[in-house]
């Protein structure tokens, strides 16, 4: 059921950019209650194949033609990030709301321009922070809101990436792949996810940033594939809480995981297992504490095992469940029924932190004497 509710007209959605992630957008948009009326790609081959495979009624290779003929209520922008701003601007000018895949834009300046374009058009723009709406993250946020873990004092997050995985393999086989033109390379395409979860836990202010980048892999191409950082460490300091966010191409298993430390308790969250375990500790004396602590951990893990098994039996473990949830909330906001699920200030904060992270990482590679000293962006 769509967030827009029963009886509300189904939003008309078009997807622009028919690469890998477009499949998920079409599928989850339908699950969120939309009619996918068109797909568009500047390559006719790509647009046609998406329409044929995904049973979309119309395909276009011209964006303006798509906007005028298909007249979508919402346009999903799933092109490479360098074209997010121009495509979103055109869609907004054509009267559509826009959902823009992560990273929202190449940098903060472009994100600001997108905000201006949305305001002028009187339409909404939503950053594709879909993992912030994963069921387990929503559980975490409920726990925080209820005060169960007290005030958040620190968050650890790790975002893994497999350079031999479905995306990494393509990027590593092509020195001209768009991801190599992003300021932060492959990390730039991934760090939005943990940041979109972590930053709201640090409060409303922009935290200060310390970042360092490493390249652990062997250089073997002599081109852009040798240049990007495959390990990045970020320390964020808000007014009352800190966070460390790690991007790693080498840590195994590849995962997105968080540990949230509060004044009352801490919780460990795995987005891959979709589990959340409170670490309860123990008040038992001496050596008994160690056994009791381990027992509490095991009980928490056992509960999560049963929950996931139940979800499996009830067919509730869709991979892109967070995307479906975010789409549904955004469609409801576009229809005027609810507030935007990702306030644009949050998207701007994420873009600002990304800018600073990659600025500092690049500065480390600059000649001696020119390196930036870090600090708040």
């Amino acid at each position: 059921m769509s967030e827009a509710g029963a009886g509300a007209p189904r939003p008309r959605v078009a997807v622009v950019g028919c690469g890998q992630i477009a499949d998920a957008h079409v599928h989850e948009a339908r699950r969120a209650g939309a009619d996918v009326v068109a797909v568009c790609d500047r390559s006719a081959v790509m647009a046609e194949q998406a329409a044929a495979r995904l049973e979309v009624p119309e395909w276009f290779e011209d964006l303006d033609a798509m906007l005028s003929r298909a007249r979508p209520d919402v346009v999903h922008v799933t092109t490479p990030p360098a074209s997010h701003l121009p495509v979103a601007r055109a869609a907004l000018a054509g009267g559509a709301h826009v959902y823009v895949e992560k990273p929202l834009t190449v940098d903060l300046a472009e994100a600001g321009a997108l905000e201006d374009a949305a305001r002028r058009a009187g339409r909404l723009a939503c950053a594709g922070h879909n993992l912030a709406f994963d069921p387990v993250v929503l559980r975490l946020l409920r726990l925080v809101a209820e005060g169960a873990i007290g005030d958040v004092v620190h968050v650890d997050a790790i975002q893994g990436h497999d350079l031999a995985g479905p995306f990494g393999r393509i990027a590593m086989s092509d020195p001209d792949h768009w991801v190599h033109r992003l300021p932060g390379g492959i990390a730039h395409n991934n760090l939005s996810h943990p940041l979109s979860i972590v930053l709201p836990l640090l409060g409303d202010e922009l935290p200060s940033v310390r970042a360092t980048g490493l390249r652990l892999r062997r250089e073997r191409f002599g081109d852009a594939r040798d240049h990007f950082h495959d390990e990045i460490r970020v320390l964020l300091a808000g007014e009352r809480a800190t966070a460390s966010v790690h991007f790693s191409c080498h840590a195994r298993p590849v995962q997105l995981a968080l540990a949230v430390y509060g004044t009352r308790a801490n919780v460990a969250v795995s987005l891959d297992a979709r589990t959340m375990r409170a670490v309860r500790g123990s008040s038992m004396p001496g050596p008994f504490q160690k056994v009791d602590w381990a027992r509490n951990d095991a009980v928490e893990a056992g509960r999560e095992l049963w929950r996931r098994a139940g979800d499996l039996a009830r067919a509730r473990l869709h991979y892109f469940e967070g995307m479906r949830e975010l789409f549904a909330r955004f469609y409801a906001a576009a229809a005027g029924a609810k507030a935007p699920p990702v306030p644009f200030e949050e998207a701007l904060r994420t873009a600002a932190v990304l800018d600073e992270v990659f600025h500092q990482c690049r500065a480390e590679r600059a000649p001696a004497g020119t390196a930036a000293q870090g600090g708040a962006p």
């Binding site: 890998q20 599928h27 191409f221 002599g222 473990l317 869709h318």
Partner: protein, 359 residues
Amino acid sequence: MIAVTGATGFLGQEIVRSALRRGLAPVRCLVRPGTTPARLRAAGLDSPGVEVVPCRLEDAARVASALAGVEIVYHAAAAKAGSPAALVASTVVASEALYRAAVEAQVGRLVLVSSFATIEVAPLRRGAMVDERAPLEPHPERRDAYAFAKHRQEVLAWRFSEERGLPLAVVRPGIVFGPGQEILGTRIGLRLFGLFLHLGGRNAVPLTWVENCADAVVLAGTAPGALGEAVHVVDDELPTSAELLRRHRREVAPLRVVPLPYPLLRTLSRLNAWYSARTDGHLPAVFTPYKVDSLWRAQRYSNARAKALLGWSPRVPMREALDRTFAALARGGSASPRPVPAPAHAGGAGAAARAEASA
């Protein structure tokens, strides 16, 4: 001058060897920019008579330049694995640019290495002969991602042939096998949870040894009768799925095999499709009745047209090909690369090609 795309690939490097053996030098190999010298050496592309041109097929200007003076283009580049969109992007979008450049460069012929996956076999009855009379697949979206991309690649080639005058010959190999390749492919079965689900039963497996297949591809560039035609390439004396599995267990590694007979597989596929539809894709529809009919219904395979049109016959007999394959698998790796033959000079490329064509 001939050009080969995908020349560092499993079949592509054998096409280069076969072409040199037939005196079709020089061979210009279009390889992806950034391909390492080690990869080129491993593919035997550091040999006399071979020119390596780093070139993205999507780069129209570079491809046009690479095709200057080329008489025959052998197009073997294609992605094997990835998401459906990624396969189309790397296989079909790249092919489109190559077809366009080939038309503009007025090449004498473009030979597309297509696939059995592009043809419609689901409606064929059990035991039917699969040959070139089978139409192109009308529902490639119901097959797997590889089949879809290869279908679009071939359809686009025929469109360029009809609308733009691209001189086209299409070769559709069955399953290309050789040392270093896993032989227990999808038509034989799937590895799942530590088990091997045997799906192929006693079906004939449409194998073609990589060297034999490369010979057929090269001949399709020179045989006069191949222009405007599609030919299927499988070897003689095709083994059955059960024979291959038995030999693998005996000579390579023991497997815990669970046989899934065709009727049971079809029932499970209906269940899989029903569950996937009912749960909004909670589990993907990996098995559907259409896929099962396309891949695991027992059929026979003809290579008569390839023999007649190309003057081709398998150079390496099936028995020897299987011996070499299983010996390499038992060693746990690939056979050592064979040297690239020196280019034949007597009579030049044209004479050699004509001799092959009339053989």
